[in-house]
Amino acid sequence: MRNKYKVWFKIPKQIHLKMLGDLRRSHSFAYERVGFLFTTSKLLSDNTILVLAKDYSPVDDKNYIDDNKVGAKINSTAIRNAMQRVMENNEGCFHVHLHNHTGATYPSRTDEVGLPPVAKSFANVSPNQASGILILSEDSFYASVICPNEKKFITPELISVVGYPLNLCFPGAKMNARRKSLDRQSFLGVKSQHVFENIKVGIIGYGGGGSHIGQQLAHLGVKNILIFDDDKVEETNLNRLIGAWFSDVKKAVLKINVAKRIIKKILPSVQIVCINKRWQEKAELLQLCDVVFGSADTYAERQQLEAECRRYLIPLIDIGMDVHILDNAYEMSGQIILSMPGSPCMKCFGFLTDKKLALEAAKYGDVGGRPQVVWANGVLASTAVGAFVDLATGWTKTEDKLIYLSYGGNKGTLGNHIRLEYAEKICTHYTFDQLGVPVFKKF
């Protein structure tokens, strides 16, 4: 029988490392360690339940019971403490332990007998949150989840560790045969096709930047694409909107239909969802994405998009360009920023500042069309797609990379922005306790 719900489980890399660090420690008599992962969950309109990990708490050494029949036995105090927190904060809770090997992992017979009752206790005290069991291996996961107000355990469709690179695990998704069209990108790794077939990518704004990105995602084989744009093709778009035709102007074709037309021609099996609205009007759809590309026109839009992405543990790749007058000459510049949850945000990078937001707000009604050109949009979008590919596949083997690239359009240069050196290393603007549905504390 099909499950009523699908579950997507996301864990920030910082919390994943904290769990591994704790669970790898030896104990004076217990064979292994256990801990509790506190989560928040949200039911989305398509019956997907997003489970977001907010915090991890180890079990105190004194709360282990010496019993050589099992790997680890903990006392009722440890469980009661976790239950107390779950009740007080309206959180979910997962019993976590580590199987000390690499590759896929599954519960042992002892786990199958001993752990479900613990998870059910959490579900009983916090029935409107998802709770369950999480077993880590050194590089993979097993999870079993009791959905809100349900009794049955189900396996998530996605378990991901959100960091650079992403660690995406799609339990149950079948690995398709390698497509010949992707032969030339096989160096991206044996799992790259599988990742591209299952990852969900959002594009906010299908203009000069977004249209390059959409086309390139289709060439890569990305099969789940969500696009938001509330505009139709106008004559002034034809200098840069990839895939738009002269006739589209006359017919007032929606930009999302240009997207659909070109992406489907390249990748017929694509699942593309196009929304002819601002993303704010259908934000739940955005919350389903694993990565989002943003090419907003304004700083205020960027700020809102970043806040939404951070709340749902979604890496945001932002691009933008501008042309200024400097010493009576035009100066073209641009940026590519990866806003990774748990890492510096656009404020930490010094890109979004109160001064810029204030100036922009003061110019309201006097903004006009900003300069945009196809080649600069192409450089920025292609670089952003390159960042996405490494983020999703990890093909360069780079860990914890921060991306804030500066584009100099006059000289054709692209390099790390100087602000990268001075960015706050720990983001204080978006913390993990703000994940998921906002919690308002009563006065």
Partner: protein, 111 residues
């Protein structure tokens, strides 16, 4: 989130259902069922008060709906914050005021 208790108590005298949350480094006070000045439609809305500088304003008051029936104003703050879509008038309120004063001066925009 450190709000002055006395100021919160004073604000509660005007509009009792208050709670707070943080996003993006800003602290917000959610005001449930805020009664608006006469002739405003709707008469009652939820509002979000950011009492610290934001977007070039010393403070901002966001409403859960566009308000009609009052003076024509420049509604320049159509934003998404804390999972809600909010609307704000471009309205300058001096800095250094107490929370209740900030709220009352913002509401003047709707008189």
């Amino acid at each position: 989130m450190n709000f002055d208790e006395n100021q919160i108590a004073e604000l509660k005298q005007i509009t009792p259902d208050l709670s707070c949350a943080q996003e993006g480094g800003y602290n917000y006070i959610l005001i449930k069922d805020l009664r608006l000045p006469d002739n405003c439609k709707p008469e009652v809305v939820d509002a979000l008060l950011c009492s610290t500088p934001r977007d070039g304003y010393e403070s901002r008051l966001f409403f859960s709906a566009l308000i009609t029936g009052c003076h024509q104003r420049n509604w320049n703050g159509n934003i998404r914050v804390l999972e809600g879509n909010w609307y704000a008038v471009s309205w300058k309120v001096p800095g250094g005021l107490k929370l209740a004063e900030i709220l009352m001066v913002h509401l003047k925009a709707l008189r």
